[in-house]
Symmetry: C2
Subunit: 286 residues, 2 copies
Amino acid sequence: MSRIAYVNGRYLPHQEAGIHIEDRGYQFADGVYEVCEVRHGHLIEERRHLDRLDRSLRELRIPAPMSRTALGLVLKEVVRRNGVINGSVYLQVTRGVARREHVFPAPDTPPSLVVTARRANPATQEATALHGVAVISVPENRWPRVDIKSLSLLPNVLAKQAAKEAGAREAWFVDTDGYVTEGASSNAWIVTRGGAIVTRPAEAGILRGITRTVVVEVAHELGYQLEERPFTLAEAREAAEAFITAASTLVMPVVTLDGSPIGAGHPGPVATALRQRFHDFAEVTA
Amino acid sequence: MSRIAYVNGRYLPHQEAGIHIEDRGYQFADGVYEVCEVRHGHLIEERRHLDRLDRSLRELRIPAPMSRTALGLVLKEVVRRNGVINGSVYLQVTRGVARREHVFPAPDTPPSLVVTARRANPATQEATALHGVAVISVPENRWPRVDIKSLSLLPNVLAKQAAKEAGAREAWFVDTDGYVTEGASSNAWIVTRGGAIVTRPAEAGILRGITRTVVVEVAHELGYQLEERPFTLAEAREAAEAFITAASTLVMPVVTLDGSPIGAGHPGPVATALRQRFHDFAEVTA
């Protein structure tokens, strides 16, 4: 089955799926995106992802490309046409195509919408989670509006590449006060030696992760103590456990930080429990 | 004459000029660009623009899409095919097309190169310079690597739009210490009441503007006192003159800042002299 992409009203073979060179996403990173998990053929937490998309678009004053209902149908159709049972669906909305000028184009410029889907192997993911992943720390160097899920991802690209070259899977941004903000494509969590789960509040300096939101609920339901507060890199080094959350990895245990083991150096019981119970609490689109 | 764009080895009608949806420029702002003035059919300061392009690519470890000589020929051909006598040529290089992952793609992934050209009316530009432009100040909110001329332009877009909505042409970013860093698409300058030209050093916090570099030379040649140091917004409000520099506007007098007049509220003699003499010192490609 060959891949199919949705691009501005058409379902196209992936290889032929193009956008114009003057799409503002290409020239100005003037757009936003979402990645939603697909599990057993269904979208996970679609409602929250589309709520967040609406917020990102509103913050940047980009018009919605279509109604919520229509967008839901496109996502479903892209998943179906690509035969994705387990994997993810990616959507990107930009301010559309216009002669290159920084200022917004004419109000009637239609936004661009691209949707793709791809498969992932749950067994591979589970094997990774069984061993946990390595994380490095990098100085926070993103713009302050990281609450908007925008295409301005160059610092994230560089951080992820630095992680890869250090043999790690993720990079945690650390601000000038020593606090971990979040990962380059995930939220950051620790479990203290006292057993409290700690993650930064979503009010400032991070993206309000959808997986993060669900994991907060899971933690409450499982009776864990949860502290929504910033934590430092020093505190993370002394933690009993650490983990990251994202739609593409769910709850992923972190076993080393900058090359040193976290806790016992293997996935801990809290991260493992949160991962195992995640889908009992996540909302599934019928 | 219809517009023609160069895209990855082909000269295409502008309307049909597209790139793939998984070009890293579109998904990650993972690329850089340059804008070069065209005057009397010739490129202005091409060498310095291509030097800076090389530096931007090197900083991001994106391979050059072709040799300097070949790129020069493409620029010239795009200008020719578009019949541009006066205007600008725009080039953009991205890390190429690859399955969406933050980390760099395989080393053999060819970078993408897009080149466009367009006309400008020198008479319109001169009329604007005769009246000067309005500038507003906005809080600096870009990532620290603004020395790289990257596609991460979303904060610049928002700043320019804020300027437009305030009836202004440009926005000056002001850091938390009150210093002006630069404009959203230009470098920032003032002339003190004592007659000294002041502009921020290109070592930190700004892009090393090519027009800026030439204007530094022009200022020296014309015997002005030049101070390369940061200046505050407060100092700018009290300045005798202010102006901005960019390849697209050259030396453009600033006559109001946040709605208040600068100096006498009309273009000053220093900015006017620098503008008039600019092309006597700029390098022209034969």
